[in-house]
């Protein structure tokens, strides 16, 4: 996620023109986990899917270079305006007749951040799902996952494939694509589907507006020369806190 966001002219989403584009952080763990299962079981076929503008293909190329076998780009110039229910419907419509044993999603997206899509897809497909996993083991269709709870607690959950898992930060260490794998990825299949072929249903919610939150901080902001800031901080520590006494 870039630090500079501007709201678009419509006032309902951010302007993506000047933004560097990268994979949703949580999805990197999902891709890595799928590739690790493939490495483990040998005979496996991994599809990576992304809904969005043409630019998302760049992100998918990274997933292919990490080891996915094929990419599916669901072409949708208006994906930003879709709600979690619509995004999940599109994914479920694609996955319904494919017989995937495992589906990994991120636990949340960084822009929409609803933390819904994964669980919704599973419910739509009638699959068991475990959300927010930080550990995953697969043994002949038997899944043992650890769900992260608050305060450093984890719940151990067992289920059977086919199933869907939503991936939390720290689940694994996403690999960096190597140069040979980046070259190989260029030859992999990258299918494009039009969103209209997958989406029948409408949105359940709408965005009234998007905006930059009002600053309520009111704290002191120090800028400029580093040495001067350091001097000011020492002064503040002396005056406002008891710690340098």
């Amino acid at each position: 996620m870039e630090s500079k966001f501007k709201v678009n002219t419509e006032g309902k989403w951010y302007d993506n023109v000047d933004l560097a584009w990268r994979m949703n952080e949580y999805d990197e763990f999902a891709v890595e986990q799928a590739v690790q299962v493939k490495d483990q079981v040998g005979e496996a076929d991994v599809t990576v899917l992304s809904i969005g503008i043409d630019k998302v293909k760049e992100t998918m190329k990274k997933a292919l270079a990490m080891g996915c076998d094929r990419g599916v780009h669901v072409n949708d110039d208006a994906s930003y305006a879709k709600d979690p229910f619509e995004i999940a419907s599109i994914i479920a419509a694609f996955a319904r007749d494919k017989g995937f044993d495992l589906i990994f999603t991120g636990m949340q997206s960084q822009d929409r951040g609803s933390a819904q899509v994964g669980v919704l897809v599973a419910e739509m497909l009638g699959l068991p799902s475990v959300s927010t996993i930080v550990d995953f083991a697969f043994d002949n269709g038997q899944i043992t996952a650890k769900r992260e709870l608050e305060g450093g607690l984890r719940a151990i959950i067992k289920t059977q494939a086919p199933a869907l898992l939503t991936c939390q930060l720290g689940l694994n260490t996403p690999r960096y694509p190597t140069l040979p794998n980046i070259m190989k990825a260029k030859k992999k299949e990258l299918l494009t589907l039009e969103v209209a072929t997958l989406l029948q249903d409408g949105a359940r919610q709408e965005t009234v507006k998007m905006y930059v939150p009002e600053k309520k901080g009111g704290g002191l902001v120090l800028e400029g020369d580093v040495g001067a800031i350091a001097d000011q901080l020492v002064q503040i520590l002396k005056e406002k806190t008891g710690v340098l006494a």
């Binding site: 669980v119 959300s131 608050e150 151990i156 939150p213 901080g217 902001v221 120090l222 350091a230």
Partner: protein, 305 residues
């Protein structure tokens, strides 16, 4: 307006976040009933109907069963709003219920006015105002966004509920991330490293500043996930909650899950290259600078005192 509040219970105790749901209904001026899979030995302080399923039967984590119990209560109560905490329990169960009801779900609500819900977007850099298009709406509330004006009080009118639903998930118990080592909750001064330190080696300058100040160093989650620091140094919802006299956040953006662990600190200094980083919302002082320059400069000055 009628709301159903989904309370939370874990390891034998009612979770306090339950009262944030009550505060939310209060803010809306809405009628409410409460749902809980728990035990009558740990009832919420609440004046209203409590639909209570016995945790010994329904399990603490059992989404298929909890979903069915909720759907039964919803069918009876016909609430317009079904309210969860945006917690590991809530974000797991809410979409299951929303889909079954054909209802919109609006996640991580931080404010509400009439039928407009405010939620964060883009790592809390932006906000969105959302409206539901369905008759019933499921919402999850950001932790800490709604607070009761007074101590919770009251005695619920308990109605016992049960179901005979099967579950495709088997709960194998809890596991605590190993504790031990440093206890940050006792530290009076904490200097924390975020992803902005850039690489493992730079943790050294953070721990040196901590040492110069006579405190401990902490870390944000990415620093712990990358194994640059031990888990017992992590501050936030899934780590430690601290309230030292002084908290110095170096290269930390200020995600809600981090803030939840440190915003009660008495004095907060943030060092960040981004003037608009959300950490500025809670910081008493925001120093806009490269930590790799400022942290050593500050350490040097303090050492000389």
């Amino acid at each position: 307006m009628k709301t159903l509040l989904v309370a939370e219970y874990r390891e034998g105790a009612l979770l306090n976040a339950t009262y944030e749901l009550v505060a939310f209904a209060e803010k809306l001026g809405a009628e409410s009933a409460m749902f809980l899979v728990g035990s009558d030995t740990a009832l919420p302080k609440y004046d209203g109907t409590l639909y209570l399923a016995d945790v010994a039967q329904a399990g603490e984590f059992n989404p298929a069963v909890h979903k069915q119990l909720l759907l039964d209560v919803i069918a009876k109560e016909q609430p317009e709003l079904i309210v969860f905490s945006h917690s590991s329990y809530g974000w797991d169960l809410a979409p299951r219920v929303a889909l079954a009801l054909n209802a919109a779900q609006i996640s991580e609500v931080v404010d509400v006015a009439g039928n407009t819900f405010v939620v964060p977007a883009c790592n809390a850099k932006l906000r969105r105002d959302l409206q539901s298009k369905t008759a019933q709406t499921v919402v999850t509330l950001q932790g800490g966004a709604f607070g009761l004006s007074a101590e919770p009080s009251g005695t619920p009118k308990v109605e016992k509920i049960e179901t005979a639903t099967a579950s495709p998930l088997e709960f194998g118990g809890y596991e605590a991330v190993e504790k031990g080592g440093v206890d940050l909750t006792k530290a009076e001064i904490i200097v924390s490293a975020g992803r902005g330190i850039g690489k493992a080696e730079n943790l050294e300058m953070i721990s040196q500043l901590a040492e110069a100040l006579g405190g401990e160093y902490g870390a944000s989650r990415p620093v712990v996930d990358a194994e640059w620091a031990e888990h017992n140094r992590q501050i936030g919802t899934t780590g430690q909650t601290v309230s030292p006299k002084l908290y110095v956040a170096c290269g930390i953006s200020g995600a809600i899950q981090h803030l939840a662990g440190m915003k009660k600190s008495e004095f907060i200094i943030a060092i960040n290259t981004d003037k608009d980083a959300p950490i500025g919302e809670v910081a008493d002082v925001l120093a806009v600078a490269d930590l790799k320059e400022l942290v050593p400069a500050l350490t040097e000055r303090i050492q000389k005192l």
